[in-house]
């Protein structure tokens, strides 16, 4: 025992750090949050009771969990399922079928997936499944054969539920809900969706069969709770291998929370979104800055992470442009100012650019037209400009109408930060009529 303990203590600092990082990364990437989800106790209880009744009493149910992206719908469901499956006799009984609207894009695929997950495909010998119709009849018959008291309950989890509503005739949903409303195999149909108007997507007879239970997860917590969540998510658990390191780490996190600048960063983040995923993104960035030489998260790390998170992507692109391309962008800005957002073509941009060159020939090198076209195409590839028509419309490149996908504010910001930008170009950008 003592030997082991000493061995534990022997863990080098680097090992501790990498272990802590692995653990936290797992949390942030796989949404594996320790403990119960925060602030959704009543929803948690509702869902747990519902699933329990299906598992224990064989009562069929259907429920929708609705909430914006990153509100913790899947997290809640997984938490409830884990809790449910801890009970032994429930674990033996319940069958789970997980479907995702992004994967099972039509009912045929969904049916095959259900059959596979229920391990029914081997029941009819190793015969590969026939037609869609056979498949459906097969599955329905299988579900119909069961009854409330004798069959194992099946929990259907439909992620991205709204996408299932777009399947033809909503056959799958109709049948699942129909099973849930008739004395067949007990099922619990759980839909996860971020659409608040999901019920309007359902056809009336499908809707009628749905039990209209909706669990809303709307992340109604305040900033104080947000801080708590932040702390909880960064803390290492009690049973971390190196107790001393964990204590130090947690102490550091605690002090981090009290730091003024960190609070500001979090406040800003909280204002922008309550999404758990964006918080995880922020923490990931901060965490990745932790090294052996830099063993704890400092407020500066968070500031840097926040800066990275909130950076404007297009401004970043602008920084990498050449002066010629920048000039073209400025010309386009002027054009869209003059014509009030109307589209323009390359020839117009070129003319504008030529005018500028004629005036300030000493500061900017005059480029050949093909070079300018190349620069223009590069902007197109970067999607800073966007053609009005699709690629099918054949017009000459120079006369193809395009629109600028940059706001004036973005251009001005980029110019301010652009390294060694010729002053003439800057002036041209600010002056209304060059």
């Amino acid at each position: 025992m003592s030997k082991r303990k000493s061995k534990e203590n022997c863990l080098t600092h680097g090992e501790c750090i990498s272990q802590a990082q692995r653990m936290l990364r797992e949390r942030f990437c796989h949404q594996k949050i320790p403990g119960k989800p925060f602030g959704v106790e009543s929803q948690h209880k509702h869902l747990l009771e519902l699933l329990k009744r299906t598992a224990v009493h064989g009562e069929s149910n259907s429920v929708l969990i609705v909430g914006p992206r990153g509100a913790g719908k899947t997290m809640l469901l997984n938490c409830v399922l884990n809790e449910l499956l801890e009970v032994k006799h429930v674990q033996e009984n319940v069958l789970q079928v997980q479907l995702n609207g992004l994967l099972q894009t039509d009912d045929r695929i969904a049916l095959k997936e259900i059959t596979r997950q229920l391990h029914l495909e081997n029941v009819v010998g190793d015969k590969v499944f026939g037609s869609f119709a056979e498949n459906l009849a097969f599955l329905l018959e299988a579900l119909k054969k069961g009854d409330r008291s004798s069959s194992r309950p099946v929990v259907f989890i439909l992620d991205e539920f709204d996408l299932f509503a777009h399947h033809k005739n909503q056959t799958l949903l109709y049948n699942l809900f129909d099973v849930s409303q008739s004395a067949q195999t007990p099922v619990a149909v759980i839909g996860l969706t971020c659409r608040l108007d999901v019920l309007e997507l359902l056809e009336k007879r499908v809707k009628s069969r749905f039990s209209h239970r909706q669990i809303h997860l709307l992340s109604s917590f305040r900033f104080k709770q947000y801080l708590e969540i932040f702390k909880m998510q960064l803390s290492l658990p009690e049973d971390f291998t190196d107790r001393r390191f964990a204590e130090e780490w947690n102490q550091n996190i605690k002090s981090l929370c009290e730091d003024r600048s960190v609070e500001d960063v979090l406040q800003k983040h909280f204002c922008s979104s309550k999404d758990f995923r964006s918080l995880h993104m922020l923490l990931m960035l901060a965490l990745s800055r932790v090294t052996v030489s830099h063993p704890a998260i400092k407020p500066t790390d968070l500031l840097e992470a926040s800066r990275l998170c909130t950076m404007d992507s297009k401004a970043n692109i602008l920084h990498g442009l050449s002066v010629l391309e920048l000039c073209l962008i400025i010309a386009m800005k002027h054009l869209s100012d003059i014509y009030d957002g109307e589209p323009f073509n390359f020839q117009m941009v070129h003319n504008e650019f030529q005018k500028f060159i004629q005036r300030k020939s000493h500061s900017v090198h005059n480029f050949e037209k093909p070079v300018v076209i190349k620069a223009f195409e590069h902007l197109h590839q970067l999607e800073l400009i966007k053609p009005m028509e699709g690629p099918s419309v054949r017009t000459q490149k120079e006369y193809q109408l395009v629109k600028l996908l940059l706001d004036n504010s973005q251009i001005m910001d980029a110019l301010q930060k652009y390294p060694q930008c010729p002053t003439d170009v800057k002036q041209w950008a600010t002056s209304a009529f060059g």
């Binding site: 209880k45 009771e49 009493h57 009562e59 069929s60 914006p68 992206r69 006799h89 033996e92 069958l95 229920l118 029941v123 009819v124 015969k127 869609f132 119709a133 009849a137 299988a142 579900l143 054969k145 069961g146 004798s150 069959s151 194992r152 309950p153 099946v154 109709y174 409303q181 008739s182 004395a183 067949q184 971020c194 659409r195 608040l196 108007d197 007879r205 009628s208 069969r209 039990s211 209209h212 239970r213 909706q214 809303h216 709307l218 909280f270 922008s272 979104s273 999404d275 909130t310 950076m311 404007d312 297009k314 401004a315 957002g341 999607e383 966007k386 996908l405 940059l406 706001d407 504010s409």
Partner: protein
């Protein structure tokens, strides 16, 4: 065996025999004694008389079996003026698919059942009669005769009354004929022979048939030729038959003194000839048991046999009484070969030698079946073989005692079996072997049936018959048991139909513990209520409609509409339940109910496949199924039960050409179809809206519309479901029902709300403790289900999202439009940020915010690749947004 009859395209010419024997002046019907059938290309003519069993042209390549009762002409003089009245028999495949299991065993391929369903159309066109057939009655427990090459005889053991199989009531069989069961044997014109010959030529269509029949031919040459021989000698028999018939009738009417008239007695009377046969048989076996040498053939001592008949018979009647109610099926003997041979010898001897008064009765009785036998195309026939329990008993004793010791002998002899069989002279040896083998096989099949049915160990003997024998089949020499025929009724057994089910749970479900749980279980939509309140009128209408159609054996359509959750399907199911009940109580002819649901199939054409599967168990492609159904519903089949077809979610069966709907509504209009279609859909004007005229016209105007439930009805529904389980306060119930009635009138919704309310009550009662569901709980449940989540969602949104929503509204006001691009809104957004004192966000963040709002549909957005020029609209009213933001 009868498959080829409809393929027999040869024209048959029908004509009456003689003049009308009786004329019904009222109906202008002229009754005739017989019908003469002449087949084209064949000089032979056949005669059919009342009392004969006949084959009638049927559907699906199979002929129907019936017994001819009357022949008459309706005097119209048209081609189809010849009519016949028949007593129907059904083949096993004609029994509805879902009821076939009630037989409880595998049917014999040549087995038919007396059809005892009343008001079945027993009047047929006489010109659909194909030929006569031999039908013989067997005891319920007796095995099917294993006679060789009897392709033309059918066996009746049981009757079918639409619900169950029961032993044939022989009285009925007799009375319905009005004449003795025995086909009039005086007219032995060898009628079926030409037809059969023709058909036999045609029949060779299945691959296995030629070999089999060849083999049969081979193995039965001796008998065949013998019987032919017999039929050649027939005229001498004919002379004796008229008296025989008279005598028989006499013996039927006069009961033996002292014997009770049980059914068995009637049977015994009826099957007197069988008794004679069996006594003979028993005698033979007894004698054989005594005989030291198996070669002591009875054929060599016909006179001996005849003399010994009467005493044995006397003894056997008493035996019969002992056995009457016994339930024995032991290994028993089927020495039909032997009996046949001995009989033949005997009758031959008799017919040549004349009759002595002492044994006259017996000989006559033997005579009659022989006539059938001869009449039947010279094939050794059924009644002779029909084994009654008494013979069985004795032979069983003998045989069981001997089986063991003979087995070895048999094995040894097996190789020579064929040669011996062919030997005309040495008749006894092969027959004995047959006897043993059949009994042995019987016992084998008995064990096979008791056991797992699989892998019955084959006795060495069976190698001879191996190819097409199934272990459970009793008769080993059933003629024409071709693979093409037997699988038909047994298709469901194929692994393709194996239906898997969800594995059963290891732990039992918990029963509801308290009042609330009990109430919840009762309120679940799936729980079947005892009655359906508030739909009495609709129930009655549908009930009357279906009942009348089933009664009359006609068809019809009914269209039922109503918004979801108004009990359409439930009411129809209730009606069907009641009708089934009525049918079981014999108040109604039985019918079969099938249900399809437009939502439960992948394409409209799948409807055919499903209907066919449910009707017959066949699997077919959509086109093939459509063709089969078309044929089924367009061919006359008087014995068919009415089919009630429920088509749920009718609108899903819409196709561009609408042929699915067309067929569904066209079939009921056919006279023979006996199809009642109940179509259910949501919209009242569906026929007018989506159906083309010819479809709508066929659907007809029998329509019914289910109104949404009123609040009183909903209240009644809940109350009746709860059924005195007191879980709700009255006010709470009223609130629920009023609310739902105002919204949709959907009973499902109502039940779901109540269920949710019980849950809420349960949670809260853990704290407070009042057991009843109160107003507050119901309100909470209603809120959960009906309150729009938008306002809460806006209140819970992050600050930036709220500001963005404000910016959208501000931009809308500025533009005076309900639509703006993201760029425009974003400018407003930045301005608002400044006003609110927040640090301005960058464009990317703004766009993320916007898309997040779009994902939960607070905003309606175009796809995001349009970036700055994304058009933004609100999915909530501006007032709602402002209201939500103000409060927050």
């Amino acid at each position: 065996m009868s498959r080829y009859f409809t393929r027999l395209k040869k024209r048959r010419v029908y004509s009456w025999i003689g003049g009308p024997s009786f004329i019904d002046r009222k109906l202008k019907h002229m009754f005739y004694e017989g019908l003469c059938i002449k087949t084209d290309g064949n000089t032979n003519t056949g005669c059919i008389r009342p009392g004969h069993y006949i084959l009638i042209e049927g559907d699906e390549d199979r002929s129907y079996v019936a017994k001819l009762l009357k022949l008459y002409d309706d005097g119209t003089g048209t081609r189809s003026s010849k009519h016949a009245e028949v007593q129907w028999f059904v083949r096993f495949h004609e029994v509805p698919q879902n009821k076939r299991k009630r037989l409880g065993r595998d049917p014999h391929p040549n087995e038919v059942f007396l059809y005892e369903i009343p008001n079945c159309d027993s009047d047929i066109d006489a010109e659909t009669i194909i030929t006569t057939v031999q039908v013989q009655h067997l005891e319920e427990n007796s095995p099917f005769p294993a006679a060789q090459s009897q392709e033309n005889s059918l066996y009746v053991k049981l009757s079918w009354d639409g619900k169950s199989f029961s032993p044939v009531n022989l009285d009925l069989l007799l009375q319905s004929g009005g004449k003795p069961v025995l086909p009039a044997s005086s007219h032995t014109d060898s009628l079926p022979k030409p037809d059969l010959d023709v058909s036999r030529g045609l029949a060779v269509d299945s691959p296995s048939r030629p070999t089999r029949s060849a083999r049969q031919q081979h193995s039965s040459t001796s008998k065949y030729s013998q019987s032919k021989e017999l039929s050649d000698r027939q005229p001498s028999n004919v002379i004796s038959t008229p008296t025989a018939r008279k005598k028989l009738q006499l013996s039927n009417s006069v009961k033996p003194p002292g014997s009770k008239l049980t059914r068995d007695d009637v049977l015994a009377e009826l099957l007197d000839e069988d008794r004679a046969v069996s006594s003979l048989e028993a005698e033979v076996t007894r004698r054989r048991a005594l005989a030291s040498k198996p070669s002591s053939s009875p054929s060599k001592k016909p006179r001996d046999l005849c003399i010994s008949l009467s005493p044995i018979r006397g003894g056997q009647i008493t035996q019969d009484h002992q056995l009457a109610n016994g339930t024995q099926i032991g290994p028993r003997l089927q020495p039909e070969e032997l009996v046949k041979r001995t009989l033949k010898r005997e009758s031959r001897a008799e017919s040549t030698e004349g009759e002595t008064p002492s044994k006259r009765k017996d000989s006559i009785k033997i005579d009659a079946p022989l006539d059938i036998l001869i009449e039947d195309g010279g094939e050794v026939g059924g009644p002779v073989v029909a084994v009654t329990p008494r013979s069985r008993r004795k032979s069983a004793q003998v045989s069981s005692a001997r089986i063991q010791q003979q087995l070895n002998y048999l094995n040894r002899k097996q190789s020579t079996d064929f040669d011996v069989d062919d030997d005309e002279e040495d008749v006894f040896l092969p027959t004995k072997k047959d006897l043993k083998s059949s009994s042995e096989e019987e016992s084998e099949s008995v064990t096979g049936r008791r056991g797992s049915r699989s892998a019955v160990p084959r006795t060495p003997r069976s190698s001879r018959k191996a190819p097409s024998r199934t272990p459970a089949k009793t008769p080993n020499k059933t003629p024409r048991r071709t693979p093409s025929k037997t699988p038909v009724p047994r298709t469901p057994r194929t692994p393709r139909h194996a239906t898997p089910s969800i594995p059963s749970r290891t732990q039992p479900t918990r029963k509801p513990g308290n009042v609330l749980e009990e109430a919840r279980a009762r309120l679940h939509v799936s729980s079947v209520p005892e009655s359906l309140p508030c739909r009495e009128q609709e129930f009655q209408d549908i009930f009357n409609f279906v009942e009348s159609k089933v009664m009359d054996g006609t068809g019809g359509c009914m269209y039922i509409s109503g918004v979801p959750g108004t009990g359409k399907t439930a009411t129809v199911h209730e009606v069907i339940r009641c009708l089934h009940h009525a049918a079981e109580q014999d108040e109604l002819p039985s019918f079969c109910f099938i249900e399809i649901n437009g939502m439960k199939m992948t394409a409209p054409h799948q409807a055919y496949v499903q209907i066919l599967q449910m009707l017959t168990g066949q699997k077919a492609t959509a086109e093939h199924a459509a063709a089969l159904l078309e044929k089924r519903f367009s061919t006359p089949a008087p014995k068919r039960e009415t089919t009630v077809l429920l088509v749920d979610e009718l609108d899903l069966l819409w196709t561009r050409k609408q042929n699915v709907m067309y067929n569904l509504f066209d079939w009921p209009t056919r006279r023979q179809a006996k199809l009642v279609v109940l179509a259910i859909a949501n919209t009242m004007d569906l026929p007018e809206r989506i159906m083309i005229n010819r479809v709508a016209s066929r659907l007809g105007l029998t329509r019914m519309s289910f109104q949404p439930y009123s609040y009183k009805q909903l209240q009644q529904i809940i109350t009746s479901r709860l059924n005195r389980v007191r879980a709700f306060e009255d006010d709470a119930l009223q609130l629920v029902s009023r609310k739902v009635a105002a919204l949709s009138g959907d009973a499902r919704r109502c039940l779901d709300i109540c269920r949710r309310a019980t849950e809420i009550c349960e949670f809260s009662s853990q704290r407070s403790g009042s057991g009843l569901v109160a107003m507050s709980h119901v309100m909470e449940a209603l809120d959960e289900m009906f309150s729009s989540p938008y306002i809460t969602a806006i209140r819970c949104a992050s600050v930036q999202e709220q500001i963005f929503l404000k910016a959208v509204i501000a931009e809308f006001r500025r533009l005076g439009l309900e639509e703006a691009t993201f760029q425009q809104v974003f400018r407003q957004h930045l301005a608002l940020c400044r006003v609110e004192g927040l640090s301005p966000v960058c464009m990317s963040e703004g766009l993320t915010t916007c898309l997040r709002l779009g994902a939960c549909r607070l905003l309606l957005l175009e796809s995001s690749h349009r970036d700055l020029h994304l058009r933004v609209r609100l999915n909530v009213s501006q007032d709602d947004v402002l209201y939500a933001l103000k409060e927050g």
